[in-house]
Amino acid sequence: MYRLITLNVNGDLRTVAVKPNTTLLDVIRDKLDLTGTKKGCGLGVCGACTVLVDGETMSSCLLLAANMEGKCITTIEGLEEKGKLSAVQKSFIHSGAIQCGYCTPGMVMSAKALIDKSPNPTEAVIKEALGGNLCRCTGYVKILDAVKNWKTYSELDEPEMKEYDLEDYKVVGKSLPRYDARDKVTGRAKYTADIVLPKMLHGKILHSTIPHGRIIRIDTSRAEALPGVKAVIIGKDVPDRQYGVSPPRYDEYVLAKDNVRYVGDEVAAVAAIDEETAERALELIEVEYEELPAVFDVYKAMEEGAPLLHERYPNNINTSVDHHFGDVDRGFQEADYIKEESFTGNFTQQAPLEPHASIGDWQDGLLILHSATQVPHYVHYMLANVFDMPLGKIKVIRPTVGGGFGGKAETTPLDLISCVLSKKTGCPVKMVYSRKEMFLHNRGRHKQYIKMKLGVKRNGEITAFESKIFLDGGAYTSFGIVTVYYAGSMIPTLYKIPNYKYTGRRVMTNKPACGAFRGHGSPQPRFAFECLLNMICDELSLNPVEVRRINSMEADYHTCNDLDIRSCRYKETLLQAVEESGFSEKYGQLNDGHGIGLASGGFVSGAGYTIYRGQVQQHSQKPREPFQKKSIFPHANAIIKISEDGTQAVLFIGAADIGQGSDTILPMIAAEALGLPADRVRIRSEDSDISPIDLGAYSSRITLMGGNAVKRAAEDVLAKLFPVAARLMNCSPEELKASDGFIFSDKDDTKSMEWAEAARKYFNDNSSLIGTGWYKPPEGLGGDYKGATVGTSPAYSFSTAICELNVDISTGKVDVKKFWDYHDCGTPVNPMSVHGQVEGAVVMTTGEALMEDMVYNDRGELVNPNLHEYLLMTIKDTPEIFSGIVDSYEEEGPYGAKEVGEGATVPILGAVAHAIKDATGVWITDLPITPEKILKALKENY
């Protein structure tokens, strides 16, 4: 069956044995170890596997290796010459076109093929050439820039520093390229699926084919007899402990013990010598189910007598929130105008280009997990909980991660099953989700059914607001308990709302669980609120800018739901976006299907409390403690070690860079605080054995929390170093400052020495120079009601987005032309990264507004579990984006910084909907706003 073929790859002739059904992608990755070429969808849609075949781009996942003899194949690894980057690679680095890096190799190959043929391509030609390469992080803006201006960028020796106006700082405020960009643009960066361990096996999961049922019998004997199969496990082989996200709602087993609750639920798993054998084995497992009635609709699920998913959640209500702040009845009485409206969200998915992947490696007395995760510590905690072993006997390694957006913010079945299979076989077991499995597993955004009522004075001043939301949560809790609280708690952070009532119900249905997705719980309610406010403005002939201005949140404000807003430049985001875009001149004045719309948003800069209570310890061994309004342990912890020659600092912090750039931001903060140039700090964040706990990339927390820990670790280093330097310079440590690689006296210009020399001297007499730092959010955050912790944060971000678009009135097709966004992120540590986050958020969320939608049939099966039909925006759909940063400083943040990553998504849905209303005269209140819905509404209204 195997046959020897000889391929010309990157100029080398390589002879490999392949089967007829082996794809070129698999040969490149698995046989030639050229793992720079990525697998994102396996079906020729995402472009991550793009290679050049005789100079033309092709999707290597849809090429049979056996057909490729005699052709010249070029992969990303073939672009460097003797360690020198090609021009297009340099351009990608210097323009900031690289975030998670998973799309980068394919993107670079498409760009390379293009500029080899036409060195001065127009934007339209670039978009055509790159249309088949999906990116989930960048919004394509800097990618387009990188290809358009490749000559300029590639001729820079040093990347151009687009400096922000921050005179006080040497490193903070500079638009440095990502520290890991070179590895990502050369294909050297290793993602979990790229890693090969000795004796490694491959695991696959058997998923339930029915939406609800009881497992009567499973026969694995035929699967076990298949040559190459090393282990088959079912429910009885996994621990009896349940897992999940929030301890009171742990409701999942590693594999189904009795019932399956959605199409895709995990029933059995196989480890085999390769993925193909494991997949064959799955087909040989026989499962007999007793099918139970299933329910897919939120409202039907709550009816008496509806099929019950879990005994512990009566009426399928997973979590109930009943909040009332102030007095809404009085507030509505005081209102001159009251408007009520209903809105419906959509099921959308993070769809990071890198699918989930894990490698479990259960050794004697030590469990090692490699995982594509945003939250290494919570995965670590969950392994300790499920396998009932001390955290100290487990280590979690987070290789380079190809995007997360919340989908990787919880422990996955792969994390746990790979460990069980590894224990059973004695070998490391790698497991990677296919794109279809990514959709079956889901954990995407909850679909929210929203009813809102808003009361205002004649001038638009808000007097009362009431919100009732049902969230379709799917079959398990996942992050949902937090989501349903966030759906309510973030509303009063943007405008001053004196009276507020929120009723939230998270309801379980026989569909894949929903979880946390960028902006967690808040984008859809914010969409609804902003639409409602804009509707009122229309109806009362009020100016939407002025109404926002008079209700605007302000600094040092205590909200009705007991959140403490510190720095706040919301008004500036609003007014600057309005000015930059010309909103006031355009709104209501554009013709022929053109429209402009405005909405605002905001988010937390890190959750005020940890996801689990108590200290870092096995869950089962912890005494049950009452909740205390303080953090028990620090949320972020950092160590800085100075090399013995004093020239380099190495920063250790377990913060997860998933593409958002914390591996760049945190060393920049360290460099600033240490007084070293940026290139003299490296970071190690990937291994829990090496780096102390940082809770991870969720709730947009790392810049503020990780940054504070890093800054304090640097200050600790200086506190040790200055006395040594002071002795050498004959002055007092108090008068010393460090900057740009030197230590000098504040009082005496003649007293100065090299930083490295001082550090060498320190080492001679004191051994290693090490500093530690940590960060805990302030104590006492939040109110004293149930659920008061969700929404608490040391700081809040604010932003305003304005969207200009064109609607084809005959088909309903929307063409988004331009976005203007101003964000209050405090001090931008790296402005280029801030803009990159905003651009990515604009495009991702515009896609959610217009085209992303997971559709289920009446059997609970997802109709579109692929990137052909679950539509992500391509570069051809991307608008021009202006991203601005308002002048702001947050006392609680490192050098005044707060968040941008998640908050940037929040205003987008509302801005798009408002622009469509301006263009067409119709409001579409259910997402996504498809051409078909627009056309239907137009026909009904005119």
Partner: protein, 290 residues
């Protein structure tokens, strides 16, 4: 993907006998962009693939007299960028360029796009409008089949076991004739047609001599909207006429509802696209040839 055996015959006769030998257990692989997706998703199960890669003569675009002959293995991008095709049937280039992505267009072939017989395929409507035919060989004999007779249903064609589509032949389009392809898709790249229309108009003096309207993605096969087409013959072109023809085309369409659009929406799209393509085709036809 399941295991299979690949055969790489170096002549067309060899390929045909392999197909005959293995019958329903065999498929032809050309670009593979549809086939591998089906194999990976287990939509079809086969044990033999017959590759056309080593067979000569299927990769060129030639002109013989007024005819254009396009070999089955010519890639979609080659069609899109071919000056020969552009000069005579620009609509076909546009249809090819509107497909999938650069990568897929470099891999996929014109023969594959036709023989796969996917209802939303982009090339067939333009080819039907042009009156193209395909050359089918059984190894021993060749036959010519008009594109309008080629499709039976979704993924069903007149190709018999052992037969291979080798060439697409586009006749001379003629003077005062224009063909326009219009497609509606839900995003800029990598998107199938929700509905598509290829319209052909020939003018004579002040009148429309004849017209043909072909609809894509709104029926089991690319279909000629016969009634709508007939309404054009001998008529004085007018906004009103084109509007009525577009309405008639929409009425003839037989779309299904699926994730890309409902039946009703597709009919509305057909009306819009037909009207737009008639306007454009008339403009170009009176400006002198396509």
């Amino acid at each position: 993907m399941r295991d299979f055996i690949i055969h790489e015959p170096d002549n067309i006769g060899g390929a045909c006998s392999l197909l005959l030998e293995f019958g329903t257990q065999a498929r032809i692989i050309a670009g593979g962009t549809d086939l591998l997706v089906d194999l990976k998703q287990h939509n079809i199960e086969i044990s033999h693939l017959v590759s056309l890669a080593k067979i000569g003569g299927l990769k060129s675009i030639t002109t013989i007299g007024d005819e254009i002959r396009i070999g089955a293995l010519v890639s979609l991008n080659e069609v899109a960028e071919s000056l020969t095709v552009k000069k005579r049937l620009r609509a076909l280039c546009k249809a090819a360029a509107s497909m999938a992505s650069k990568q897929i267009r470099n891999q996929g072939t014109i023969g594959g796009n036709i023989a796969s017989a996917v209802p939303s395929a982009d090339l067939p409507p333009a080819l039907l409008a042009a009156g193209a035919h395909v050359i089918i060989t059984s190894g021993e004999s060749e036959r010519k089949v008009p594109m309008s007779n080629f499709f039976y249903g979704p993924r069903k064609t007149v190709l018999a076991v052992g037969e291979i589509l080798t060439q697409v032949v586009i006749p001379s389009i003629g003077k005062k004739t224009a063909i326009i392809y219009k497609k509606f898709k839900l995003r800029g790249a990598n998107a199938l047609a929700v509905a598509s229309v290829a319209t052909r108009i020939t003018v004579a003096g002040n009148l429309i001599k004849e017209g043909r309207i072909v609809l894509g993605a709104v029926a089991p096969v690319p279909m000629i909207a016969e009634l709508a087409s007939e309404m054009l013959a001998g008529q004085i072109p007018s906004h009103n006429l084109f509007f009525r023809v577009a309405e008639a085309a929409a009425a003839e369409a037989k779309p299904i509802s699926d994730i890309r659009g409902s039946r009703e929406y597709r009919k509305e799209l057909i009306q819009v696209l037909t009207k737009q393509s008639l306007d454009e085709a008339f403009k170009r036809a009176t400006g002198g040839g396509d």
